[in-house]
């Protein structure tokens, strides 16, 4: 099964190799992601996030899901000394950086619960893979049609933060200015909730975010700094040069 749909403004590609998994499992994945968009989008005035931000909902009235997301945002704000912040001055509450990884990981969990064992789910460049080995390329920060590395993943998640596509869209909450210390930073972790949050938070920190992310247990890091130098953790699962046939 191979499906592509556009949700939350980005493409979501799903490949499931298990023959016995029904199409409805994929339907459930896309339905969940559309639900997340409706509930958590900072661009939809009727979303739970916007209603909370306007004071129409009190903290005790929030869904368990939003409480979990806001707790994650707070965790990473503290862990990065404020570089990562879902509440930037002059802007509304925007937990998107956490919502994306968290919701796509939840989608992968739905697939597993439906019996999928070998699949790869790619949501706008964030990847959850199961039952590999899978070969995951990391887009080169300066050449859209090239890769800067290829990693091999059996079960796990990969997320990349970079400046290329949307320009300087990640803001360092400590300065209020776009984060420019790195060109690209990729994190491999067991869940996309962690990989995506850590990649975004480390990118916001700049060069020191490389060491910060590398020091987190279970996180492997591949970073390209502003000077075009690659720094990666020793355990980053770089694929062999020549893939085995098949």
């Amino acid at each position: 099964m191979h499906r592509v749909e556009h949700v939350m403004g980005f493409p979501v590609s799903l490949r499931v190799d298990d023959e016995d998994v029904p199409e409805q499992a994929a339907d459930a994945v896309f339905a969940w992601l559309r639900e997340v968009d409706a509930r958590f989008s900072p661009y939809r005035p009727d979303s739970e996030v916007c209603r909370y931000d306007r004071g129409e909902l009190q903290r005790h009235e929030l869904s368990d899901d939003l409480v979990e997301v806001l707790d994650l945002c707070e965790h990473y704000r503290r862990a990065t000394g404020g570089a990562f912040d879902a509440r930037l001055p002059g802007r509304g509450l925007d937990p998107n950086a956490v919502v994306k990884g968290w919701s796509v990981q939840r989608a992968a969990d739905l697939l597993r619960a439906a019996g999928a064992r070998r699949f790869v789910l790619n949501a706008g460049g964030d990847v959850v893979a199961a039952g590999g080995p899978w070969r995951v390329g990391v887009r080169h920060p300066e050449h859209a049609d090239k890769l800067c590395t290829v990693l091999e993943l059996t079960d796990g998640a990969v997320a990349t933060s970079a400046r290329y596509e949307r320009g300087d869209h990640i803001v360092d909450g400590r300065t209020g200015r776009p984060a420019t210390g790195l060109l690209s930073l990729t994190v491999v972790a067991s869940s996309l909730t962690e990989a995506d949050s850590v990649a975004t938070a480390a990118f916001a920190m700049g060069a020191e975010g490389i060491g910060w992310a590398a020091s987190l247990p279970g996180c492997e890091v591949f970073a390209v700094d502003a000077g075009g130098q690659v720094l990666r953790t020793e355990g980053f699962p770089v694929a062999r040069e020549d893939p085995a046939p098949g």
Binding site: R135, R139, L147, T233
Partner: protein
């Protein structure tokens, strides 16, 4: 072989030692490049030329939990060992310091199953490597 001169910048952020090195090709190994701390807050730097097998001791950095000093061993561009010479009696700082490998940025093409990258918009998708993979099915 091109000799690189790593510059070690040790900065204390949340008591986690962080380093980066900036190879300046062609500079003699004995010349120490000026250190530049990535941010002004609570950072301190030291620099030293390094050749294969070189041991670089960071300066002792006072933190509110006590003094911290890190020793980094290089083999060429590669960090081979990181050791805490001094650390406050605090469990957070006794955690293993991660080893980082430095490499040159390469642009490659390869047979892959999927592509990770910063959030790609639906508009940009048509031109993307992932779209090519999806079409192939």
């Amino acid at each position: 072989m091109k000799r690189a001169v790593p510059v070690v910048v040790l900065s204390i952020a949340g008591l986690v030692p962080v380093w980066r090195y900036e190879p300046s090709a062609g500079a003699p190994a004995s010349t120490a490049a000026p250190a530049t701390a990535p941010s002004a807050s609570a950072s301190s730097g030291t620099s030293s030329g390094a050749s294969p097998g070189t041991v670089v001791k960071g300066t002792t950095i006072p933190t509110d939990k006590g003094p911290v000093q890190v020793q980094v061993t290089f083999d060429g561009d590669r960090i081979t060992a990181v050791r805490m010479l001094q650390q406050p009696n605090h469990p957070q700082t006794t955690a293993a310091v991660p080893k980082l490998v430095a490499e040159t940025l390469k642009a490659q093409s390869a047979d892959i199953d999927t592509v990770s990258g910063a959030t790609i918009t639906s508009d940009a998708y048509k031109e993307s490597l992932q779209a090519a993979i999806d079409v192939r099915g």
